[in-house]
């Protein structure tokens, strides 16, 4: 102890001041995030400006990757697919999720049981449930085709994942299946914070059930809808697992999302620079979603009577 008085001094001074202590406590998490999150984020942007390949240092090539991508019809197809996938899946998830949340908010028996069961698709690893969907969407032995044929609605099995538009709708269906529970349970949590008495007061004033939903429930739910849907849009936009399992971007790139195209070019293709450029091209969309969330949160503060 006698050898390190100065050191002990620094420690105790650090531990006594608020900022020093805060710094010490933040250190492990901050160091980790700086090394494995902030630095890679910057490195990714840098790699987008280089022609790096796996196992070879890249040279700075300026905007070449982006110029190349601008002329690449597959890239633009992936952008279209990503937007289509995100918009359609999010709208469906929101509609079905809100409906399910309203159903669960009714005074039901077995409510906790239903709630627990409904969240299952969201708990199970995406890749593994996507495998089940792969089997359900099989081109010959799909159970859906079999039932539809039995009912006499179609005459030949549907080629779910082999035709471009069939494949797009099939992956959207699988994504919606997985996303609805998250939206529903989050919105249910929001619904439960709305006092019943408001609804009753509106009913006494003669409001119909649609008016009660439109004028009482929905406005009070808006802030949480904004946040939940931002998360949902963000995760749908950057989806990778589902597509990778079900179609790997096929048929003829019809279901390639930006994330899967970026993986395809960077890892099996070896073009790290180009893959990074595609990933960086996703950032503006993500920023837009985050800003949307931010303003959603702001509005919430204002609604609760906080400062503007």
């Amino acid at each position: 102890m006698a050898e390190t008085p100065k050191r002990a001094n620094i420690w105790s001074r650090l531990a006594e001041s608020r900022n020093g202590l805060g710094f010490l406590f933040m250190l492990p998490a901050a160091a980790f995030l700086l090394c494995f999150l902030t630095y890679p984020l910057g490195l990714g942007v840098w790699l987008g400006f280089t022609d790096a390949r796996i196992g070879r240092e890249g040279m700075f090539v300026g905007l070449d990757n982006y110029r190349w991508l601008a002329d690449d019809s597959v890239f633009w197809l992936a952008v279209f697919n990503t937007l289509f996938y995100t918009v359609v899946a999010s709208v469906l998830k929101f509609g079905l999720g809100l409906w399910l949340a309203l159903l669960l908010n009714e005074n039901l028996r077995w409510k906790t049981f239903f709630r627990a069961v409904i969240l299952l698709p969201w708990v199970v690893p995406t890749v593994l449930s996507a495998l089940a969907f792969w089997w359900i969407f099989d081109s010959q032995f799909s159970i859906i085709s079999w039932v539809l044929i039995k009912w006499g609605l179609i005459s030949a099995p549907i080629n779910f994942l082999g035709e471009p538009w069939n494949a797009r709708w099939s992956v959207i269906a699988a994504n919606v299946w997985r996303g609805v529970p998250f939206v529903a349970i989050s919105l249910l949590a929001g619904l439960q914070t709305i006092p019943q008495s408001l609804n009753e007061a509106a009913a006494l004033d003669g409001a119909t059930s649609w008016q009660r939903f439109r004028r009482v429930t929905l406005p009070l739910l808006t802030p949480i809808i904004a946040v939940v849907m931002t998360f949902s849009v963000l995760f749908t936009f950057t989806d990778f697992q589902l597509i990778y399992v079900l179609t790997r971007g096929g048929p003829v790139n019809a279901t390639h999302l930006m994330a899967t195209l970026s993986f395809q070019r960077a890892i099996p293709g070896g073009q790290l620079g180009e893959g990074a450029a595609i990933a960086v091209a996703m950032i503006p969309f993500l920023l837009a979603a985050i800003l949307f969330s931010f303003f959603g949160l702001q509005r919430r503060k204002w609604q609760q009577g906080g400062g503007d």
Partner: protein, 312 residues
């Protein structure tokens, strides 16, 4: 000081109630329901709910029934009803456990998930306490940064991370996953724990300070015992997130013995055009079971961590 006569858990419960569900008066009034007749209720509530439940659960049923179907019944829909199984078999599961590397993948997944969860929780507890209670200069901004970090998706990080992992020389090792999973776990756990710490009354901490406790003692003796529900929530959620992780494991791992369950099942059990659906579905089923079992024991913690992360 009357507060101390209560059980600490009650205090937490109360505090959580105030913090989490701010405007939620307990409301036993049945609302408008008495005006809905039973037939209408069946049509409007129970029927749609039944359809929802059926669609949400059918893939699991299909997974389970395929996992125990003998091969000759698997695609023979004309002679055997596809929805049922005659003479279920454990052949697929036996094949999976004894003739593939599946047990190894299971072990890798457990190891990686537990290690990265512990790592992330350790970092997150200190960070959340510092942001929420030490309130150093810039704590609010740091909290916001943590939230933004949570929004950075793995799909834009995996390329540079692969580059780094390769450079550092831990490519194709479990260590690569243990070190990279906390990138999405730490922000999530910190954000969640900040909410829990916020709900613990200041008075407890102040009285401990007056009694001469150090910050370390306050954290370990006062705050952490009270934040146990939060720690459980964050822990099981982080475990599930790392169990489900796919893109990093796919990118950073190339040899079969280091793969995790999702990657192993997808890359090693699918061979060419011959799909061994029985084995694939057993693999999916067994790979899902640990998280489903964990989930069934901690449903409420799950729901609170999920909605908590969204609501804060």
């Amino acid at each position: 000081m009357a507060r101390f006569e209560k059980d600490p858990e009650d205090i937490v419960e109360e505090a959580l109630d105030v913090g989490r569900h701010a405007p939620a008066p307990i409301d036993d009034i049945v609302g408008m329901e008495q005006y809905n007749s039973l037939p209408r209720r069946i049509l409007v509530v129970y029927l749609p709910l039944a359809v929802f439940i059926f669609v949400l659960l059918f893939p699991f049923y299909w997974m389970a029934i395929t996992a125990v179907k003998p091969n000759h019944q698997l695609t023979n829909y004309n002679e055997y009803s596809p929805f049922w199984v005659v003479g279920p078999t454990l052949e697929h599961i036996r094949y999976l456990l004894f003739e593939t590397s599946y047990p190894g993948w299971l072990w890798n997944t457990i190891l990686v998930s537990v290690a990265s969860t512990v790592l992330a929780l350790a970092g997150a507890v200190f960070a959340a306490y510092a942001i929420e209670r030490i309130r150093f200069t810039g704590a609010r901004v740091t909290g916001l940064m943590i939230f933004l970090a949570y929004l950075v998706p793995p799909s834009i990080l995996f390329i540079p991370l692969a580059y780094i992992v390769f450079k550092v020389g831990i490519f194709d090792s479990r260590l690569a996953l243990i070190l990279t999973y906390p990138t999405f776990l730490i922000p999530f756990c910190t954000w969640l724990l900040m909410g829990y710490f916020r709900s613990i009354p200041y008075e407890l901490e102040e009285s401990a300070l007056v009694d001469g406790a150090s910050r370390w003692q306050i954290l370990t003796r006062v705050i952490l015992p009270l934040a146990v529900p939060g720690l459980i929530s964050a822990g099981i959620f982080a475990f599930t997130l790392s169990w489900n992780e796919f893109i990093y494991a796919l990118t950073f791992i190339s040899s079969s013995e280091n793969k995790t369950v999702p990657v192993g099942v997808l890359t090693e059990l699918v061979r060419g055009d011959i799909y061994e659906w029985g084995a694939l579905m057993s693999g999916a089923l067994i790979g899902s079971l640990p998280v489903v079992i964990l989930y069934s024991f901690f449903v409420d913690y799950y729901v609170s961590s999920m909605t908590g992360a969204v609501k804060e």
